[in-house]
């Protein structure tokens, strides 16, 4: 797929998602300050990488990506809640994200905590109430089970706790991988697995995609670490070199910059090997894997 095709693929789907996503919050019968706070962070932009992975999986199995927009919205709600809580003074204490003030800087800590809680809870409601006659009750239950596991104590929240515990410590590679598997990888994997569940992929294909997603998630994080060294502040929208300043354990720190780049190549290669085992059209997921490797932000 050419660069131009990639860009139009991403743009059309991102526009669709970003039109539908706020509608879920606007429709709520809830205090307006809560809705404003939820919308503020949901609409703060970002790559929408998880929804794109979901859409690419659905389309790879011959499905219509528009049918999966409710699940994509739920994923963005979970991702967004995690960013709001991570940015709090009690956690990372960040004032800016993607060049905008963080939620608590605009709405105060209490409302930010509650907006996060609301987005997390609402994500499950959006999936359970999605009005799609083609999605059977058993599929919805699988989606909810996978999403809860990916984002809960054994998933994203567990990874975040491990990350906090690892601060100012020298981590081993397995410790670093544990953190990233869970903190970033599990929700990213869910996006891909959700696409397989929605299109009724068989169990073998689901497990191959799970392995694909696992290596893709690690690759994503390694690229992040590399961009913190080699990226441009202007393109990234955040200061570079902050990992070094914060004495954070990173792949380049453990493996050296060249070692980290080799690891990135290896993981993308291994991810693709798993992808090719799946009976589907691989093109769009392959393209997103390349995008993760070559992106400059």
């Amino acid at each position: 797929m050419s660069r131009l095709t990639l860009e139009s693929f991403l743009k059309e789907r991102k526009d669709q998602l970003e039109t539908k996503l706020p509608e879920y919050v606007v429709a709520l019968d809830a205090p307006s300050i809560l809705k404003e706070s939820m919308l503020y962070s949901l609409q703060a932009g970002g790559k929408r990488l998880r929804p794109m992975l979901l859409f690419a999986t659905v389309e790879g199995f011959g499905g219509d990506y528009q049918q999966s927009i409710p699940v994509a919205s739920a994923i963005e709600m979970i991702h967004t809640y995690s960013l709001i809580h991570d940015d709090l003074p009690a956690m990372d204490n960040d004032d800016f994200r993607r060049g905008k003030l963080t939620n608590h800087k605009v709405f105060g800590d209490a409302t930010a905590i509650l907006a996060g809680d609301a987005l997390l809870t609402y994500a499950f409601e959006v999936i359970v109430t999605m009005n799609n006659s083609e999605v059977e009750p058993s599929q919805k239950l699988r989606l909810i089970a996978e999403l809860a596991k990916a984002s809960g104590p054994e998933g994203m929240v567990g990874g975040q706790v491990a990350d906090m515990e690892g601060e100012n410590k020298s981590l081993t590679l397995p410790e670093l991988e544990f953190i990233h598997h869970h903190k970033t990888g599990d929700l990213l994997s869910f996006a891909i697995i959700a696409g397989a569940i929605l299109t009724k992929a068989n169990d073998n294909d689901v497990e191959s995609l799970r392995a694909f997603a696992r290596y893709l998630g690690l690759a994503f994080q390694i690229k992040d670490d590399i961009l913190d060294i080699e990226g441009s502040q202007e393109t990234l929208g955040k200061p570079v070199g902050s990992d070094i300043t914060n004495e954070k354990s990173t792949y380049p720190k453990l493996l050296g910059l060249e070692g980290a780049k080799r690891k990135l190549d290896d993981h993308i290669l291994t991810a693709k090997e798993y992808l090719y085992k799946v009976k589907m059209k691989h093109e769009k997921l392959e393209m997103l894997a390349d995008y993760i490797m070559y992106r400059d932000r």
Copy 2:
């Protein structure tokens, strides 16, 4: 039902629940500090009123309460997460709850926020993965839809935001009722409705129970306000008179102490009228309604 019968009813079910509840967390493959923090607050005691309402409803329809322990556990996880987040410095800034240090005083704010997030997410996983062949997929989906609505932006979280917005303001009775319906009432209602869903009660009965629960929830809050004036600090395990010190809008403030007591009587009476419309054994729910009215803590 005699006082002795009530006490043995509550004790047996509370013991069962409090044995099973921690097992869910112990079984998790998650960082140990996260599990400790979750367990600390889950095991901090309390009346377990919501599980008791669930059990009484299940038994009123001829079901076995033990089958509903996973749902009771999920409800306690949601209730507990809401207490952890409410107690945070950014919210109510409470150092003690039920005579014990609050979660963030023991584990720090960051872990407390994440333990709350973990409990909220895990509650959905516990319901979706409950291993009970008698519960059909459609019942699980109804439980999840009701729980998400009751605890999310249109439910408990929305009520909490409205409560914060109402601080240091003189509220009208409808405003006060909006807050309590959502902040306390919605999860309490869910407990009762979940019992009806699990025993496949018909839609009419579910709606009558929803009305029963609505009045019961308001009655519960009015009694809380009255206890803050008339209760004993020793029995309550918290200082009395704090609502007056905090200039909080309460029922006694709006209606006078006698007016609040009349309102409590009225609501319990109306609740019972709805209860009697339901084709079930009313005895245990009736007993819990009386308990809510006459309790001294």
